[in-house]
């Protein structure tokens, strides 16, 4: 009834190709963004911001990056954790070496460094494809983590090898470090996600995105119609790693506060891969939904026995949690292999016809 495009005529090409062609979509998205900036910092408690919303935003950033590479350009990567580590450590080095610098610039620098490393590890993708490439990207994961562990320079010679986010202000407000408030860090993380989701959306619907999808769907055919495989694949690796690098910097500065290489291990790579598959490969919205799902499920599983009044040992609970998590992923893949984004699309179609489905 409310959600339909009847009467909305597109008279220009620009209008036809808009990201949100329907007025209702534009209104809802604008309202949602405003609400996201205003409501949680005012209403949500420290726990919700710190344990749910900030990790969601950080992982959403990483999922956006991986979805560009895997969902759009079709290059399966298991090196996300390694690229995030590059971003985290690079941002840390720059922020501590140059205390007067705006810390947001350090985040972007982390992204750029990760992009450079991503380009290097993307080179094998020209010859190696599919699962062979996935295993090859594991080389990046293990090598980078080993490097950050081994070379003390990266952690400023901290004896424990831990990097800690320093206190830094942006426009007079404390943004990072142990004394900053969760609300401020949430707003910063949200701003990054909103801006970069918009960037990603516009990348994938333009010439570059079409080239990525052509490579994904059939790389030889794409090459024949004039898509340059070297440039296209490396661009995907670079941009994807940039997103992951920024996410890594956020992970250290906005979410964890201090981290060691363990925070970037192989499980992180799998987690982000889960997010984009459960959210939907080749979908910007899917990256966000998937990140939300994967962040929420463990929290939910941890709290359910508590709510139901069951008491069990911590170890047993952890094992059951792992088991249910695995089971849920299986169930989810069987029910909807195309992810949450597809579910959203289906429900939108239904909504357009409601309440007269015939």
């Amino acid at each position: 009834m409310i959600y339909r495009e009847a009467g909305q005529f597109k008279t220009t090409y620009a209008g036809d190709q808009a990201v949100f062609p329907i007025v209702q979509d534009r209104v809802v998205v604008a309202l949602a963004i405003v609400a996201a900036f205003v409501v949680p910092p005012v209403l949500a408690g420290e726990y919700w911001l710190q344990a749910v919303l900030i990790p969601f935003l950080v992982y959403a950033m990483a999922a956006l990056g991986l979805n560009i590479l895997t969902g759009y350009a079709g290059q399966l990567s298991l090196g996300t954790g390694g690229f995030m580590a590059v971003g985290g450590y690079a941002a840390f080095k720059l922020a501590t070496a140059w205390p007067g610098l705006n810390v947001l610039v350090a985040f972007l620098f982390g992204g750029l460094m990760a992009a450079g490393i991503g380009l290097v590890f993307g080179i094998p993708s020209l010859r190696i494809k599919g699962f062979y490439l996935a295993v090859a990207t594991l080389a990046a994961q293990f090598f980078l983590i080993w490097l950050f562990n081994r070379v003390a320079w990266f952690s400023n010679y901290a004896p424990s090898g831990t990097i800690t986010a320093p206190d830094r202000e942006v426009l007079g407000v404390l943004v990072t470090g142990p004394n900053s408030t969760a609300a401020v860090r949430y707003v910063v993380a949200l701003a990054f996600v909103v801006v970069f989701a918009a960037v990603a959306k516009n990348l994938v619907r333009g010439r570059i995105g079409r080239a990525w999808m052509a490579i994904r769907d059939r790389d030889i055919a794409a090459e024949i119609i004039g898509v340059h495989p070297l440039r296209t694949k490396l661009l995907a690796f670079g941009i994807s790693s940039f997103f992951c690098g920024v996410a890594g910097a956020e992970l250290v500065f906005l979410y964890l506060g201090s981290a060691e290489t363990l925070a970037f291990d192989i499980n992180q790579s799998f987690l982000v891969l889960f997010m984009i598959i459960i959210g939907g490969l080749g979908s910007i919205l899917g990256s966000l939904l998937g990140a939300g799902f994967i962040v929420l499920v463990p929290i939910f599983l941890t709290n359910v026995p508590h709510w139901m009044g069951l008491s069990m040992s911590v170890a047993l609970q952890k094992q059951i949690e792992v088991m249910i998590f695995g089971g849920l992923i299986l169930a989810f893949l069987i029910v909807e292999p195309h992810g949450l984004a597809r579910l959203w699309q289906i429900s939108k179609e239904k909504l357009r016809l409601w309440p007269f489905p015939h």
Binding site: P124, R127, V135, L281
Partner: protein, 313 residues
Amino acid sequence: MIAETLYAVLVGPFRDIVTGPLFFLEVLIGGIAAGLLYSLVALGFVLIYKASGVFNFAQGVMVLFAALTLVGLIERGVPVAVALLLTIAVMIVLAFAVERVVLRPLVNQAPIILFMATIGLNFFLEGLGEMVWGANVKKLDVGIPDESLKVAGVLVNKLEMTAAGTAAVLVAVLAVFFQRTRIGRALRAVADDHEAALSIGIPLKTIWVVVWSVAGIVAIAAGIMWGAKSGVQFSLSLIALKALPVLILGGFESVPGAIVGGLIIGVGEKIGEVYWGPLVGGAIENWFAYVLALAFLLVRPQGLFGEKIIERV
């Protein structure tokens, strides 16, 4: 400075090899033994990949699960032989369950979806195994002492030799099974071409159960050997990550590839760690295998024995 570095990298290790041939031989044998253990894990991957095109990430956890079940049964007073049979039965039941619950509903999905499903299975089995049998480190005693003896002046580990022998026997049995039996022929047919196999009346579902069962039994063998070496514990599932470079080196579709790849990785890793590791501060085992495999891949993208990739538009 540069000359010194070059010397340390390019000359020093080789000088050490030449001046200490016995030590080099020990490293080599250690590498071969470790490599065969990798091969055992990689073998499970290859079997499943060949027959169903599924990249089974859960193979490592299957190794852990099998070992946990075996040790758990022995701890509860079941005789070793009976425990072994029961574990085999459990792995076969698991194969049936996987085929029915995971593979059948996901038939015809993209490979990456199936890959994800096996990672889900990975978590599920990990939680289940530890819930049923407990998460503490268990000792698996197979009656072979983990000690070394000198053969012609070279130190050899008894346990590693037994593992190597087992791996060799297992591979031989599998080779006979694949080449000489009816089911083996059907398996090869499915591996060649799913649709053609279906059209001449080979039941795909049965084949998948058989293949997952065989992979489960290979997992038991790997679990026993690794468990006897380093105790049955969660880290056992991580050897799956060690088997991956073996796979890409040997080629996903090739049983001999898994063996040769395992040997190359095992030997390369040990030699790299012993002779070149100290130059960069050690602990290079984690990534050295991957870089080695990556270097190979750049020359042969389908691995050493993988099927030649023919691309058409």
